[in-house]
Every structure is written in structure tokens, then in C-alpha cells.
Amino acid sequence: MARLTEENVRLAQEIISRYPRPRSATIPLLHLAQEQDGYVTEDAMAHIGELVGASSAEVYGTASFYEMFKFHPVGKYVINICGTMSCALMGAEELMHHAEQKLGVKMGGTTADGLITVERAECQAACTEAPCLQTNYRYSFRVTPESFDALVDDLRAGRLNDEIPAHGVVARVRQHIPADKGAGVHAPEDVKAAPAWFDGKAAL
């Protein structure tokens, strides 16, 4: 049960500083926490509450609304198999059945070695490439039983370590706004007038 590390608190402060209201950073900070521990711990939620000025209950209320946040340890790799219409039409049910066989766990379960958690997921915006799945939010398209087995074998053999970071890490690139480049962030109540450049004249 870990609060955010010093390094992550620094990142958190940077993220918070981009918003007119600290609370807007709640979801990004929850991702940061999940990146740190693989799932969102209670201490982290309490810590985030302190950082954004919300009660722990409010942070938990927000966090538990969203699918991606886990509140207990999950596999290093979370495989989400899409089961919505386009994929269903192209055999998602069968793929899920096969996955359960291959991994020896039911949907929502984690393999004994703690490496893989497999879940039924909803539409992943890859409907033309059905059936599809995501491994820690990295896609596999037009998945067949064979390609699924190959994926699992690659994961087990660690052949995908470079492509697919451990669960919790989503984007590996962070936005960074250099202090001298930013236009500046203001709380709405501190802004009384139109932006200076919005003066009816051409900007260039």
C-alpha cells in the first residue's frame, strides 16, 4: 500500500499545474498511481485526495467509475478481448472460449503464475479488424486461435517486453510544457475578460 513516490509527486505537481482546477488532474494522477504499483492502492487514493483537494471517498468514487482502474493486484499483462457487436459477429465469443482454454482461467481471472489477467471488454475502436484484443492497451487485430496462442507464448517468453510495458503504464510519452513556452494557466474566477489576442484584428 503505497503513497506516490517523491518522483511521482513531482510529476503529479506538474500535471496539476496544467489545469485551472487541481481536481481536474484526478484521473491522470490515478493513472500515475496505477503505473507505480500496478493497481490503485488505498494509500495512493488518499494521497491523491490531498494533492487535488478532494476527500478519499470522492477520489474512490471517481476511480471506481472507470474500467481501467484496478483496486487489487492483476497480472503483469491484462488481455482485454472485445465482445461488442463487430467483434462478436466475427467470432469474439469463440475467441474468449479459446482464451479460457489456453490460459486455464475464466474471463476476469489471472493465471497461476500471475503473468496474465484476461477480461471481456467492450468496443475498442478497431471494429474493422475484428475480432480484436488489447494487451495492456496494445492491439492485436483479426485474432485467430493460432495468433492468440502465439501472443501468449511471446508474452510468456518475454519477447514483447519492449513493445508492451507492464500493466499500469499506458502512454510511455508524457506531455511536458516548458515554462517559457506555456501560454499560462488561470483559475476561471481570475479571468474577467476575453484573451488579449481576441481583439478583432488579425494576429499575424
Binding site: S55, S56, A57, E58, Y60, G61
Partner: protein, 660 residues
């Protein structure tokens, strides 16, 4: 009185009202005001629109969809949620069409789909909006044959409140209250969709001073209060409207009893005072009335120890002591009782020529604070600026905190707090100045020097909430600070934040110090053997007075000590005679709140044991001392009181009341 008229009070009425509109509800043309919601206009007109999530004292969310009505639109009738749709001039509203009926029945069926049908064993059964509306607006049958939602039930979300998630219909009333009214967002919706549930954070209970309100406003039996669970069924409850005297805010309540026992208080929506809310201390105070440890019979000291005795023996002893006191009689306390109690004891004090009396125990402010231009709670909340020179309002005057917080968070009231440490209000204060004990006046002068503050104070009405923040320091420091504000802002008004239940009433009907001889002085006199007979009227100097040593010496020094109380207190242990007093709910009368508003308190149960109302005891003693008490019942006391106390009765004795 309706919510919108409340708003109207905030913006005083002008002769020709620009906000007046007229709408048609079910064919009847009625007057309404701009911005008012259809549902509240309908409520005022007696057209009941079923609802679950709407509560007139909280912002509407339009979630339950039970309040849908038909409104005539450009493209024919439209269904709208009446709790989120404001009235508009000429609007045509129908609340009883086929389509409305169909929608209402549909919603009820959907709400019942996952709702357990355990009404017979549910605390809410018999007073449950869902149950009632299922009868009045429901389909009469459920076609839901699937398995219902299942949760562990019920779970304790605090020491006082239990939550049964299976019964919850997710109306957001409790969570909204916690967030919006109490400012303690310790419960929240969690999960999503059909799995949505109200929960606390793990290991962080719903520890709010106001948690009981969520139980009262829950439209089903999902939230229940530990002290009431399974105590009684609504149909064998008797109730009368009264006033809470736990602190001096004076919230309106209904006192409910069953089989001659107090079982529950419910908040009543008194527009100028508590808006329907109660703090938990007040709401659950009936537990002390019901306590095992209540005094039931008089006691008298015989060879060093207190032993039970008869009323006549006890009163004889007291009367004798008073007669022999030749004027040296002191009366401390009186704030616990009614105005009538205090008034009769003041008469007794007069009769025996006592010049030593004080309803406060050196724990408030000089009674002179009542001489300053006074503010009401409404006036305070509607001012532009409030200066808090008081104890932590959240701790001491909880519902005043709720009113101030509402004004500060929703209506732009700016609060300047001067305190020695962070209080429950600090995070809502516009400015919070920390100062060393005894330096409030300097802090205030420094503040007045600040340009921004000066501008703020100049921008409109200023009210000072004045009370004793720190018992260890002299009240003079607070008064000096109040005077400092008044000299800079002469038009400022004062709301005395004197904590004890009826302290203002007791002071104003005759238990105020005579020529400045206050509790401290009286105890000093007693300590030096200058008090023959010391009466503790619900007062416990040993626990109440900051200077405990002085209290001890006073009790030892006084020749004869009488304690009139509901419980054996630290001090009454040292008394020569202890008289059992009737408690709250056991006697009729009136009480005066911190703004001077006089309201009634009612008798709901018979007094415990042989205990009697304080005023009766005083009357009895007057009689025994050969004076004509001139009163045989409470009505006569009140007549006499309003005759002999000019200030009394000048304040409103009735509060408008509405239930939610």
C-alpha cells in the same frame, strides 16, 4: 414557507415584483416567480408531484425521473423533469395526463425492480416515500422476475448510521447532503451503472456531526440510525413539534415518543433557523433523557453523605436555608431550562433579596453583549461580510455553521475569521487570522488596516458573530475586539454566539448578573464564606468553570448548597440538597435562541420518577417562604412573564414550519 420565498427574503421584496410570472398547472392559473422550479411551484399550490431525488434545500439533480410532467411546447406536449425545469410565464403544465401516469408507473416499477420487499421489517415501513408512492403512483404489480441485486446488509458506515445498499434507490440525497450541506464528503457514489452504490472510503467512516440528517432525508429505508433502529413503528409514534435546546441555535424539531419514551427527533424546516437540518448531538439527545442515571428522587445530606428523601423534607431544608440566608442567596445557571423556569427562579431570587445570579458560568460574554445592535441568523447570512469572533461554530453551534457555510459557498458571503487555531470553518473563510489568546483586538485592528478588508467591509452589511472562543482567557478580550470592529464599522450588527441552550432567555428574564456581579465574582464571594445559600440551577461549576480550584473553594465556602439537576454532577455531589429536575420533553415552556427568537418546547412524556420542572420548584419555594407565587400552571407563568419582562415577547414567538 417555500424555498423560493426564502430566496425572495434574500432580495427584499420591491412593491412591483419583476419576478412574478403566472403558469397553468392542471388547468389552474397560479402565480409563480421567475427561476422557481415547476415542482416547488406545484408544491406551494398543493399539486403534489411524486419525487425521490428532489429536496427543496439541496440543488436539484434530476436523477430519479419520478417527477416528470407534461409541458406544452412549440411541438406539442413535452415530458420534462419538474425538479430541474424552471417556470416560464404562460407555461402550461399537466401533472396527471396518461403519459405522465405511464411514466410515473414505469419509474416506480423500475425502482422496485431491485428493491427488496421487506417493508414489514424495515424501519421506514409506514413512512416510506417509495412505499407510499408505489401505492399512489405505482403500477400495482411488478413483472420483474430476475434475481435482484445483492449486497451485504446492512453495514455500519459510522457509529450512528447503518446503510442497506439493497434498499438504496441511488437518489443522491445523502451524498449530496454530505457534500453540499455538511461539507463532509465522506460518502460517495462508487462503481457504475447497475452496480452503483453509496459507500465510504475503506476504514474512513461517515464521521460527520450531521450524519443523522441523511437518515431523515433518505426516501427509503437504506439509511437507518442506530439509536432508532427497531425502536418503534411509525404508526405507534406520537409526535409534537418543539425546539431543540441542546445548543442556542434553537433548531425546530418534532419530538416523537412511543409508550411514554422519547424515541426520535426529526428536523423541521424552519425557514429562519435550521432549514430542516439538525446536528447529531441535538438529534440524538433524547438518549440522555432516557438515561438510566437520571435523578429520580430528592436527596439530602445526612451525616456527610447524600441520601434519598421526600420532596417536602428537601424543600423544607432549602426554604429554611434561604430564610436564614438574609439575602445572601446566589443562583448560578438556568440556561438548561425554559424561559419560564428561569423567570420563576429569578422571582424567587428577588423574593429572598438575592443580588447574586448569573445564567452563565464565566463561559460566555458579559450580558451587555445583548445590548449591542442585534442580528438574526438570516441577517447574518445575508450580510456581505461576517466577522467570526467566536468559538468553533462547527463544534459549538453546528447548524449555525451549516447556515454560514451555505451563505459562504453559495451566496458570496465573505467571512473573516479571527481565531487562535484552525476551526471547522477556516476552509470557507475569506480571511482567517490566527492570533495569540488575548490579542484579538490587535488582530482586528490590524485587519481593519488592510485595504482589501476595508473595501470588503465598506461593500455592505457587516455582522459580528461574537462568542467566547477560549475559556482560559477573559471575556474582556473578545468584547474589546467586538468594540474595535464597531468603532470602525458603527453600522455593524452583533449575533451573540452564547452556547448554552437557553442562556439568552435566562439572562433576559432575570438571571443576568446584578451590577456586574457575575459568576466569577459570585464564586469568589462563596469561596470567601460570603454566600449563605448557593443554588446550582443545572450548573456544575466543577466541570463548567475554567478555574476549577475557585469552583472547589466556592462549593466548600458556601454554607448551604442546593443542586437542581437532571443528573448527579460533580458539583451536586457536594450539595446539601439535590432536587431532581424534569428534563427536556418532560415539561412545557418556551426557549430563546441566540438571535432572541422565542419558540415553544413541549412535554411529550411524563417526568422521570418524582422530578419536577424547575419553575414548579421555584413556585413551591416562593409559597413556602410566604410569597404568593401567583401561578398555578405554565400558562399563568407565561402571562406573568410577558407582563413583567418588557423585552420578552417582543420577538417572534412563532416560526413558519414546513416538512420535507
Amino acid at each position: 414557507m417555500s424555498t423560493t420565498e426564502t430566496n425572495a427574503e434574500e432580495t427584499p421584496e420591491v412593491p412591483v415584483d419583476p419576478n412574478a410570472v403566472s403558469i397553468t398547472i392542471n388547468g389552474r392559473t397560479v402565480a409563480a416567480r421567475k427561476g422557481e422550479l415547476i415542482i416547488s411551484a406545484a408544491d406551494r399550490e398543493g399539486e403534489f408531484i411524486p419525487r425521490f431525488c428532489y429536496h427543496p434545500r439541496m440543488s436539484p439533480v434530476g436523477m430519479c425521473r419520478q417527477c416528470m410532467v407534461e409541458v406544452e411546447g412549440p411541438r406539442g406536449p413535452m415530458m420534462v423533469v419538474s425538479c430541474m425545469t424552471p417556470v416560464a410565464d404562460g407555461q402550461v403544465v399537466r401533472t396527471e395526463t396518461e403519459q405522465v401516469k405511464r411514466a410515473q408507473e414505469g419509474m416506480i416499477e423500475l425502482l422496485l425492480a431491485n428493491h427488496p420487499l421487506d417493508c414489514p421489517v424495515c424501519d421506514k415501513g409506514g413512512e416510506c416515500p417509495l412505499q407510499d408512492q408505489a401505492f399512489s403512483h405505482g403500477p400495482g404489480e411488478s413483472r420483474f422476475v430476475e434475481e435482484k441485486r445483492h449486497y451485504e446488509k446492512p453495514i455500519a458506515i459510522s457509529d450512528l448510521v447503518f446503510l442497506d445498499r439493497e434498499r438504496c434507490i441511488l437518489c443522491d440525497r445523502c451524498t449530496r447532503f454530505a457534500r453540499e450541506v455538511a461539507g463532509d464528503p465522506l460518502i460517495s457514489f462508487t462503481q457504475r451503472g447497475n452496480n452503483t452504490q453509496v459507500m465510504t472510503f475503506p476504514d474512513e467512516p461517515f464521521a460527520s456531526y450531521f450524519s443523522g440528517n441523511t437518515v431523515q432525508i433518505c426516501p427509503v429505508g437504506a439509511l437507518t440510525a442506530e439509536p432508532y433502529r427497531f425502536k418503534a413503528r411509525p404508526w405507534d409514534l406520537e409526535q409534537r413539534e418543539s425546539t431543540c435546546t441542546t445548543c442556542s441555535v434553537g433548531c425546530r424539531t418534532v419530538v416523537q415518543s412511543s409508550r411514554d419514551e422519547l424515541v426520535r427527533y426529526q428536523g423541521v424546516d424552519s425557514d429562519p433557523v435550521n432549514w430542516g437540518w439538525l446536528c447529531d448531538r441535538g438529534r440524538f439527545n433524547f438518549q440522555s433523557v432516557n438515561s438510566e442515571n437520571r435523578l429520580e428522587t430528592p436527596m439530602m445530606k445526612s451525616n456527610g453523605t447524600l441520601a434519598t428523601t421526600s420532596w417536602s423534607a428537601a424543600l423544607d431544608a432549602v426554604a429554611r436555608a434561604m430564610r436564614n440566608a438574609s439575602g445572601s442567596v446566589a443562583v448560578l445557571g438556568g440556561a438548561r431550562g425554559t424561559n419560564e423556569d428561569a423567570f420563576m427562579w429569578a422571582r424567587l431570587a428577588d423574593a429572598v433579596g438575592s443580588t447574586m445570579r448569573d445564567a452563565q458560568l464565566d463561559d460566555g460574554l458579559p450580558a451587555s453583549v445583548l445590548g449591542y445592535p442585534q442580528a438574526t441568523i438570516d441577517l447574518t447570512c445575508n450580510s456581505k461580510t461576517v466577522i467570526l469572533l467566536a468559538p468553533d461554530v462547527k463544534e459549538e453551534l453546528p447548524v449555525l455553521y451549516v447556515r454560514l457555510r451555505d451563505a459562504a459557498t453559495k451566496h458570496g458571503l465573505k467571512v473573516i475569521e479571527v481565531a487562535s487555531h484552525d476551526t471547522g470553518f477556516t476552509k470557507y473563510a475569506w480571511r482567517s487570522v490566527k492570533c495569540e489568546p488575548g490579542t484579538q483586538a490587535d488582530a482586528v485592528r490590524a485587519l481593519l488596516g488592510d485595504a482589501a478588508v476595508a473595501a470588503q467591509l465598506a461593500s455592505g452589511d457587516v455582522t459580528i458573530v461574537a462568542g467566547r472562543a477560549n475559556l482560559a482567557e477573559s471575556a474582556a478580550f473578545t468584547m474589546a475586539a467586538v468594540d474595535a470592529v464597531l468603532s470602525a464599522v458603527p453600522a455593524a450588527k452583533v449575533l451573540p454566539a452564547l452556547r448554552r441552550g437557553n442562556v439568552r432567555g435566562a439572562l433576559s428574564v432575570g438571571l443576568a448578573p446584578v451590577d456586574g456581579k457575575d459568576a466569577a465574582a459570585i464564586l469568589e464571594a462563596a469561596a470567601t464564606g460570603k454566600v449563605e445559600c448557593l443554588v446550582l440551577l443545572g450548573a456544575d461549576p466543577l466541570s463548567d468553570v475554567a478555574d476549577a480550584d475557585l469552583a472547589r473553594r466556592a462549593l466548600a465556602g458556601a454554607r448551604f448548597v442546593v443542586s437542581v439537576d437532571t443528573f448527579m454532577s460533580a458539583s451536586s455531589a457536594h450539595a446539601d440538597v439535590v432536587l431532581p429536575a424534569a428534563a427536556y420533553g418532560e415539561k412545557e415552556g418556551t426557549t430563546t435562541n441566540l438571535e432572541g427568537r422565542v419558540t415553544n418546547v413541549v412535554q411529550k412524556i411524563t417526568p422521570r420518577g418524582t422530578s419536577r420542572a424547575d419553575w414548579m420548584i421555584a413556585a413551591e419555594l416562593l409559597h413556602m417562604l410566604g410569597h404568593d407565587a401567583g401561578v398555578a400552571n405554565i400558562a399563568e407563568v407565561q402571562k406573568l412573564m410577558s407582563k413583567s419582562v418588557p423585552s420578552f415577547g417582543s420577538v417572534a414567538t412563532s416560526v413558519d414550519v414546513k416538512k420535507n
